[in-house]
Amino acid sequence: MYSLLDTFISWFVLIFGVGAPLYVIFKAIGFNGFREITVYSKYNTFLYRVNPAIKIVFAVVIMMVVTTTIWWIGAILTVAVLSLYITLEHGKRKLYIGSLFIMSTLVGSLWGYAPFVTYSTLSVVFPHFTPDVIWTWPSYFAIMGYQHVLTLQALKYSFQISFRSTAIMASALLLVMTNTPSQILRTLHRFHIPDPILFSIMVAMRTVSFVLEYLNESIKIQMMRGLGSKHSKYLKPIFFFIAAMQGLVPTIIHIMRGGKDTGISADTRGFRATKKRSYVESVPINRLDYYVLAIVVVLIVMDVAINIMGFGRTIPYN
């Protein structure tokens, strides 16, 4: 017999799984926090001096290591990369926001997988699989695709796969926080990506910040005008979402209206005048970059060694 308390706990767990990442994303991080970890800000510690190309190589190698080794390597690398945030401008705050963001991703994917993992998947992941049931869901949860029970193995599996993207995400954000878009694009320029495409990416990177700012403004104005005020404050995230949806079209139109001037301004400053474009600031490879490259090599060697030692990837993707 499923008691009232069990029902309450089941619903609490379900709401926690959905609500906790949402709370973290919207209340603790917010648009401003998100903006802070996605936009370059000038500072002068060693990460700002590392060539963006080397950082891209670093991110790619992190991705390779994480996807080919056991989960806890990914976890260690996530913590290691995140800890570098402390060296950035407003390092403590960026570390805090970055950690919240990674945590919300972890909790989100943990609860996005755990209740739904089938026994067949778990038996591939865990040889000699015997389920350790830690909770039984109400039968009607099956409508949402929940398995009948939540097992310890499902939690473990979900926790482990959650680390697949976090280290990559943390190192990618490091790139955008420590390099101006034009520095990144100069690097991409070496791969012969056409200038108009690079220009478009540069516009996009600058616009991300405006999108967050204006969307935030549109949402707040709607709240001021009374959206959601007749309802419980616990429904605020729903109305936040409604406001974001309603604000999308005016925000797009507002930014695109300015886009015409951006185009004219670029055209009247000779954009696409010649096939080849020069760059005033070169992004040279310096001694620091060789150190980072050495770390990259160490990571690759470590990857091979870890696999030889039997700590390679043990969890299938599908």
């Binding site: 959905v18 990442p21 994303i25 648009f31 996605t38 891209i56 991110a59 790619v60 992190i62 991705m63 390779m64 996807t67 080919t68 996005g112 209740p115 739904f116 409508i143 949402m144 695709g145 929940y146 990618a172 954000l173 790139l175 955008v176 991409l188 108009p196 495409i197 478009s200 990416i201 540069m202 516009v203 996009a204 990177m205 616009t207 405006f210 999108v211 967050l212 969307l215 979402f241 974001a244 079209v249 797009i252 930014i255 695109m256 209206r257 886009g259 951006t262 185009g263 004219i264 670029a266 055209d267 696409r272 091979v304 696999n307 030889i308 039997g310 390679g312 990837r313 993707y317 599908n318």
Partner: protein
Amino acid sequence: MLNIDMIKMGFNGIAGNLSEPGIIPWPIVAIYFALASLFLFYIARKNGSLSRFKTVDYVYVGIGAAFMIVWNFFVGPFLDKFVPSGAASFIGFGSLGQFVILLIVIGVVRKVGVGMLGWAIYDILADIYSYGFGGEPIYLIYKMFAFGIIMDLWIAATRGKPFGIGSGKTSNATDAGAKAPAGSSGFVSASGASAGIGSFLSKPKVIPVIAGIVMGIPYAIAGPLFFTGFFAPLLYGGIVDWQAIIFGMYASLPSFLIFGIIGSFIAARVSKVLG
């Protein structure tokens, strides 16, 4: 012993696995992409819808890509939390949002190539912000040719009027100081005809509905077909399950149709406002 997965990942996270049971043979994928591109070029040239991109077009695409980034990393995941896993095959707000945003961009730019360009810019941006160029350039090719080309074919087929917004003559008198935006005449026939099917198509609400359907159906098909059937095994040895692919197509069809139509109306509105 070296773990087999290590070999499978290969360079830059690309396993290069082309022999997974059930995988679509790579020549078929390559031929489809090549033929689709040639066909696109052919009809675009034939009906005169090939025109050169202006700087402002690159600006619009960049703005659209910025919205896609914010959507994909901030708004989309938030919405997807509300979708029960059982329904996740039917509705994925992350990809639907990107679809709608790109519809808006193609409505504003209205030039053949904007669909593929939009996906390319978004893909590079997503790598910069989150994915770290893992699996590239395969993802870039996948997104441009599986999704972007669908939109470009529709732009070519409608002669640069994907949502019926045209450039018919109009008087620009509004109020003091106001200037009517170019192309603000509303919806005109995609074929330019004034009777029969042309008259039917000239109804303001018809073209966005058709556009939503014509682009929504292939979008729903392209994801499961190309990704699960080819790119997933190619990239990381994903298992090809044709039942899952067919189910995926059926399951995502209604949401892509609905969002395709809604998105087309929004795109028509935005392009009308911006001219």
